[in-house]
Amino acid sequence: MLNTASETSSTIRVASRWFGFSRWRGAGTAVVRWLGSVALTLFGLVLVTFAMTRLSPVDPVLQLVGDHASASTYAAARLELGLDRPLAVQFGRYLVRVGHGDLGQASSTGQPVAADIARTFSATLELATVAIVIGAASGLALGIIAAMRSGGIIDAAARIVSLVGYSIPIFWLGLLFLLLFYARLHWAPGPGRLDVLYQYTLRPVTGFALIDTALSGTAGAFRSAVAHLVLPALVLALYALAGITRLSRGAVLEQLGQEYVLTARAKGAGPWRVVFVHVLPNVTGPLLTIVALAYASLLEGAVLTETVFAWPGIGRYLTVALFAGDTAAILGATLTIGSAFILLNSLTDLAVARTGRGRDR
């Protein structure tokens, strides 16, 4: 929910700096360097979450054995957890555990955290994906038209839309949408992912409600899944649209001032051809980065939206864990969303570097 605008340009810069092919000739080297930087960043993320557990005022031993345990039980548990070892050893063990996908036991659900996350992550992914498709399509269209008609009415509208999108608290927008479209107008169903009727009868095949309901062959179930998805997806799409509109407008506008655009017009190309045939191939990298960044921030923002819409994803899992003081679940969910966030952005960097290959001067 923090401003994505300021980040994108620097992400692009990092991408070109780390993967600039003038410096790193050959795709192999670039991929190796990319893997190195991703590994280092993920390592940093694990280190940060580990540091949080160490800084936590909650005593993990007490959490395990309870307040009334004897001193010997306490000591044994402490030894069991390895808390007597040096910090570096503790971190090493933590790293190995996380590396094996062992995120510990969630006290709030009584299940392994990894299993909980596997169950909830698909819901988050489904919502974020639908939202980014809507947000990217409308945001890119608006941004491109705003750049073409720079200074015009559509440009002004685009500016207002992105300003509002940047400034509005997303959880509040979700609440307003529920109030208006669910409670007042009855256009949309309330919170949740499916009607209660289908919720327990649906066989989870892929974990994605849209696909599972379609597979089930029950038209009502599919309609219910779509209807429940509309409001949260629209809220998230609006949020993504703000950044995408503004940044894509800037990227296209910059290109429209380039000399090759003049050449294209001198050949007789119209404004639409100039943008779609000449400009867009030159901004695929930046646009890809912009959309991927918005997608990643939707995953991150799931914590708030899923709470508002009672969407059974990993964000809501995180908030529930948060109220229960379930450290393992909080860290597991944070690590998972964080890794997805980092991987998505890094993959985009790599893809962007690859598209520029061969024609860079």
Binding site: L2, S10, V14, T49, P57, S167, W172, L179, L299
Partner: protein, 283 residues
């Protein structure tokens, strides 16, 4: 880089005054400061005064925006709610910008291994999901204004470090720095004296832009119950308090959300106006 920097601050200020959007933003921020300072005078009631007999009252001449679930006057709580928001903004700004600039200047001045190590750390932190880590940080270390501010500042500094490093490196390669060192002036003082004015304009723009996001993040923390502890009035937690009754007493949710929106909008508008004035290179 240096040639395109703004020349004198006064014509810039005059141009800022001509940007209605920036003026509106500046005015809103000024208004927030006034309300925060004068809250005890402006608020018609004690924001924490519970009146169970008069709970969830509709808006009236006495309670303009009604009362919440504890019978507390909503207008008074809105006024007092400016305080944690502004405090957090100040806290984060005071932490992240100096931290980032310091890292950048040290990296740029020392060069070599120090520079590479520091910038690698900067890149790593820059790739972190900031909002998420802030939530996790506060969830684990305990809710509160300080923890929230600390969490947001600790993940938001890298952009400032990058900028400061670029400017420092540009200066480091200048001949007059070598000349100054030859006559015995410590390079450090020169760097600090010259880099700070150079990074100031871009830092201010970024700060205004970041603070708009910080306000939203802080409201999100409050909404999840990770902000200041109750019963202190805070906009995000007020939205959360109104949520259970949103379908009937919708104004209890609408008003604080609107306040968050306007506060964030004010900083965004100011950032836009500042960018037009201070950074003509931008579109």
């Amino acid at each position: 880089m240096m040639a395109t920097m703004p020349t004198a601050p006064s014509p810039g200020l005059a141009r800022l005054m001509r940007s209605p959007a920036a003026l509106f933003g500046l005015g809103m921020i000024g208004l927030m400061i006034v309300v925060a300072v004068l809250a005890p005078v402006l608020a018609p009631f004690d924001p924490n005064l519970q009146d169970i007999a008069n709970r969830l009252a509709r808006p009236s001449a006495q309670h303009w925006l009604g009362t919440d679930g504890f019978g507390r006057d909503q207008v008074s709580r809105l006024f007092y709610g400016v305080r944690p928001t502004l405090l957090l903004v100040i806290l984060v700004a005071a932490l992240m910008a100096p931290l980032g600039v310091a890292v950048g200047v040290v990296a740029g001045y020392c060069g070599g291994l120090v520079e590479r190590a520091l910038m690698r750390v900067t890149d790593i932190v820059m790739s972190f999901p900031r909002l998420l880590l802030a939530f996790a940080f506060v969830a684990i270390l305990g809710p509160g204004l300080i923890n929230g501010g600390l969490a947001l500042a600790l993940t938001s500094w890298p952009a400032y470090a990058r900028q400061a490093r670029v400017e420092t490196v540009a200066l480091r390669d200048h001949d007059y720095l070598a000349a100054a060192e030859m006559v015995g002036i410590r390079g450090w003082r020169l760097i600090v004296g010259h880099v700070l004015p150079l990074v100031l304009p871009s830092t201010i723009i970024r700060l205004a832009l970041d603070l708009a996001g910080i306000i939203l993040a802080a409201a999100g923390l409050g909404f999840l119950g990770l902000g200041v502890r109750p019963p202190t009035a805070e906009w995000g937690s007020m939205v959360a308090d109104g949520t259970p009754v949103i379908f009937d007493e919708w104004w209890l949710t609408a008003a604080p959300g609107c306040a968050i929106f306007l506060a964030s909008l004010a900083f965004n508008l100011l950032a836009d106006g500042l960018r037009d004035v201070l950074d003509p290179r931008h579109d």
